[in-house]
């Protein structure tokens, strides 16, 4: 049986003037899959992600996310995805509880459910009793774990993670990936970008963007065989060195 597709993209393209940021990318992501989306700075990852999140209209090509069309149904897409980035995810001057309440409210969860979710989330993260702590006072690693749990508080079909573990200590970084695996086992699809190549190896499949194109897409094991490299770092270097474009 073919697995349910949560993302489909066909010849998806975005041009800014005469600059083609994303150049006819084609791929599918299946339900519950952990899909790594890597590429050098400036390869077009952010532009591609913005189109898939319903934040930017493609120039041409087709794509659906959670069954919705990126041209016509971007509002529905926003309701059915979760998003977190390293740069921004939580309000530092709100408490843990207030942040949960805020995001759950934005996604339209009923008060009763928010209460239930808050208790569950605090328990999973071992943060019971700290719900009135300001996010500003939390260590970065804890903040990122909380941010991820909040990004999936509304049980989205898919969650987009943009460099979620940058700067996080190595133990917490691994705990974070534990949360990713758990979410994936529950059927949430994970779309993740990272600069840590060991993390690329935790993904079920990895796509590597070069100059706006997807130049490689396969499981880490297959990519390492294909590029005769012992690590994803080696695979990435071989592909990224071909890039003509520089910078972001």
């Amino acid at each position: 049986m073919e697995k349910e597709k949560v993302i489909t993209a066909k010849d998806l393209t975005k041009r800014f003037g005469d600059f083609t940021a994303v150049d006819k990318i084609t791929f599918d992501v299946t339900k519950g899959e952990i899909f790594g989306f890597i590429g050098a700075n400036g390869a077009g990852k952010t532009t591609a992600m913005r189109m898939l999140c319903g934040l930017s209209l493609p120039t041409s090509g087709e794509a659906t996310v959670a069954g919705f069309d990126v041209y016509k149904q971007n509002e529905q897409i926003k309701k059915n995805i979760g998003y977190m980035s390293q740069r921004f995810s939580l309000y530092e001057d709100l408490t843990i509880r207030e942040n949960i309440r805020f995001y759950a409210g934005i996604y339209g969860l009923a008060d009763e459910l928010i209460k239930e979710k808050t208790a569950l989330l605090l328990k999973q993260l071992h943060m019971e009793g700290q719900e009135n702590t300001l996010v500003r006072a939390m260590p970065l690693g804890w903040r990122q774990k909380l941010a991820f749990s909040i990004a999936i508080v509304h049980d989205p079909a898919i969650v987009f993670l943009d460099e979620p573990t940058g700067g996080v200590d190595p133990i917490t970084r691994r705990e974070f990936w534990g949360l990713i695996y758990e979410a994936s086992e529950k059927g949430i699809t994970i779309f993740v970008t990272t600069h840590y190549m060991d993390e690329a190896e935790y993904c079920n499949r990895v796509s590597i963007m070069v100059d706006g194109r997807i130049d490689a897409l396969d499981s880490p094991a297959n990519l390492m065989t294909q590029y005769a490299s012992a690590s994803m770092d080696g695979v990435f270097l071989q592909l990224a060195r071909k890039a003509v474009r520089t910078g972001d």
């Binding site: 200590d169 133990i171 990224a240």
Partner: protein
């Protein structure tokens, strides 16, 4: 507490890495050493000058590249470099040799405003500006954060060339894999130094044998190994898990037994050498 009673010495001409996650205290340390922040207690000197008494001399002798891009966004590439040369009473020509290799890469864009450069080019310009007065010590605060793997490699190649010219380099990074590129490193966590040594000595100090384990069912395997009373730690590392036992006797047999019991497929067990990241995690737990 940002920094908690740390002591260390950096030798002339070495690349000294301060390795630790966000919030460990790396930036506070750099700001104290570059005389931009006063320590509450303790003392420090840079190039023979006291960071409190002789702050003016230090400012003339060191180069500092902060973690956040801090050049003038509305000046062009060339104007920024001229500005920094001028405030240090020198000229681009005088020290051109030192920055030449890096500057040539951004020279085609020398009339472009700094604010409109790509991340990689901004970084190169910032490095040129930090070098233009020929500093004896160069402080680089997280120069490779958020930078892709290819650009990171290129940046380190630039550092090796600067080292060859006799400049002492203090560089901080959250990427553990960059530790092996430094002559010596200080591992820092929550304001305290966990260890200071050469990368190879830090690895040698990892006391217990380390095992690499893989199977088709990696997530289940990690959870089971983590909860096993015989096992001290189990951390995922890319395609494999790294496992340390509490007691060492018959580790291999125990691992094989555990994976057999759990009905795992395609099990591979082998002893491996630890890396800096293994050491960092072990030290964090001590």
């Amino acid at each position: 507490m940002a920094l908690n009673g740390i002591s260390f010495a950096v030798e002339k001409g070495e690349i000294f890495g301060i390795i630790g996650p966000d919030g460990a205290g790396k930036t506070s340390l750099f700001r104290i050493l570059t005389t931009l922040l006063l320590a509450d207690s303790g003392s420090a000197s840079v190039d023979g000058f006291n960071v409190v008494k002789d702050y003016k001399q230090i400012r003339n002798h060191v180069g500092y590249m902060p973690g956040r891009f801090s050049l003038y966004q509305d000046l062009s590439v060339q104007e920024n470099l001229e500005f920094f040369a001028t405030i240090f009473n020198t000229s681009i020509q005088e020290n051109y040799d030192l920055v030449k290799e890096i500057y040539q890469q951004i020279e085609p864009f020398k009339t472009r405003k700094a604010g409109q450069l790509s991340g990689g080019m901004k970084q190169k310009l910032a490095l040129c500006c930090a070098l233009i007065h020929k500093p004896s010590v160069l402080f680089l605060d997280e120069p490779t954060t958020g930078v892709d793997a290819v650009s990171r490699k290129e940046f380190w190649e630039m550092l090796f060339r600067l080292k060859a010219q006799g400049i002492t380099i203090l560089v901080s990074t959250p990427y553990m894999d960059e530790a092996s590129l430094c002559d010596r490193v200080a591992l820092i966590q929550k304001g305290s130094l966990l260890s200071i040594n050469t990368p190879t000595s830090i690895i040698r100090e990892f006391k217990k044998p380390l095992w690499s384990v893989r199977a088709d069912e990696m997530f289940k395997l990690m959870n089971e190994l983590k909860n096993d009373p015989l096992i001290e730690s189990c951390y995922p590392f890319g395609q494999v898990h790294h496992v340390v036992f509490k007691t060492q006797a018959n580790s291999k047999e125990k691992l094989e037994h555990l994976t057999k019991q759990g009905n795992y497929n395609h099990v591979e067990v082998k002893p491996i050498e630890p890396g800096i990241e293994d050491c960092f995690m072990a030290l964090m737990k001590e």
